[in-house]
């Protein structure tokens, strides 16, 4: 058990551990003086093999530094800006997507020739489907799933679309929901 722990320390000294294992070994390293001495000797071996030993450098060197740091307050890192840096592309993408949707909706209305919106009037506020003379559209499954039916425009659809957009402007940004309507009609004979 102890041998395998020391083997992991050896790998840690070589920068070959990461994630949870690294955090756990760091905890042990910083809490156990024997582990810290082993950590020092492992690095000493590497320095000696490379001929990078500083003459007469003993434990007093590090102890001297830590004794001086005892007088210092613990440091607290300034808040990381990296989180915001990561969030920026996401926010940018979100805004770009919102703008794209708005442009598409606007273009669609321009193509339909309905770029002027009627002012919301009291008479338009509540209209039943019968009053608007809207004909329900029934969809059936196509035998060919790739066959797309041409869109069917009804004269009242554009007007109602304009009304919905106008309503959305007055209601204040609620996303795409104001453009969705759920209607139900009684089937003939019901």
């Amino acid at each position: 058990m102890n041998v395998s722990k020391n083997e992991r320390f050896s790998a840690m000294a070589d920068d070959e551990t990461q994630g949870f294992e690294l955090r756990r070994l760091s905890d042990e390293l910083l809490q156990t003086p024997e582990d810290l001495q082993r950590w020092e000797r492992y690095h000493l071996i590497g320095d000696a093999m490379r001929g990078h030993l500083a003459p007469q450098l003993d434990q007093h060197f590090a102890q001297g530094i830590m004794a001086q740091l005892e007088q210092e307050p613990s440091i607290q890192a300034a808040p990381q800006r990296s989180r915001l840096r990561h969030a920026k592309p996401v926010l940018g993408f979100g805004m770009a997507a919102a703008v794209a949707v708005a442009v598409l909706v606007g273009l669609q209305n321009l193509v339909d020739g309905q770029n002027t919106y009627p002012v919301l009037g009291p008479g338009m506020a509540v209209q039943t489907p019968e009053q608007q003379n809207i004909v329900p559209v029934f969809m059936t499954a196509s035998p060919n799933p790739f066959e797309v039916s041409p869109p069917v425009f009804h004269p009242n659809d554009a007007r109602f679309n304009a009304y919905i957009i106008n309503h959305a402007e007055h209601a204040g940004g609620r996303g795409i929901m104001p453009y969705v309507r759920v209607v139900g009609y009684a089937q003939p004979g019901e």
């Binding site: 000294a13 920068d15 760091s26 071996i45 060197f61 530094i65």
Partner: protein
């Protein structure tokens, strides 16, 4: 040599207020930093002081360290600047000695160390060096190759595994066993 995830973890802990993590970084880099400083400051006792000052400056500056460069390159920069500042302040204190920081940079580290280190200091250093060397030579072939590829060639475990045609786990075990054998010889030396 890229960024070290171990250093990043220890730095993160120091930034969170754990001073012991900084001790681990000092123990890892002390020889390298003293060696580096010794290339500028030739008196061994002074070079220790300057190296200690560099570490303390690094500690004080760690709250601003964002990890955009590797910790050790950042630490080396601090050590070089501290050593150069020391040379400048020494030359102001003693105008008879004119030391050009640019010239100091050209001085070879090893020759400078040999010239200025005291005999006692050099004895211990060379004793450690010889002990490690002897221990490495007496290792079985597979352990010796693994530790040499790691420490002298700076290869990763994956690269060593490819070079030695064995699994990474075996490389990890061989390097560990090599270190343990060398460590045993060092303990016998009684460095304290």
């Amino acid at each position: 040599m890229g960024k070290s995830v171990t250093d990043e973890e220890l730095v993160r802990r120091v930034q969170a207020g754990d001073k012991a993590a900084f001790n681990a970084l000092v123990l890892k880099y002390q020889h390298k930093i003293v060696n580096l400083v010794s290339r500028y400051v030739h008196d061994p006792a002074l070079s220790f002081d300057v190296a200690q000052e560099a570490f303390i400056k690094a500690y004080r500056g760690l709250h601003n360290f964002r990890g955009e460069s590797a910790f050790y390159t950042w630490l080396y920069r601090i050590a070089i600047n501290t050593a150069k500042n020391h040379i400048v302040s020494e030359s102001r204190r003693n105008p008879d000695i004119s030391i050009d920081a640019q010239d100091a940079e050209q001085i070879g580290g090893e020759s400078a160390l040999k010239e200025y280190a005291t005999p006692e200091a050099e004895l211990l250093s060379s004793e450690i060096q010889a002990t490690v060397q002897k221990a490495v030579e007496s290792l079985p072939d597979d352990l010796r190759t693994a530790i040499i590829l790691r420490e002298l060639e700076g290869m990763s475990y994956e690269e060593i595994a490819q070079a030695m045609n064995c699994p990474i786990g075996t490389v990890r075990s061989r390097i560990f066993r090599a270190r343990e054998a060398i460590d045993k010889s060092l303990k016998a030396l009684n460095m304290d």
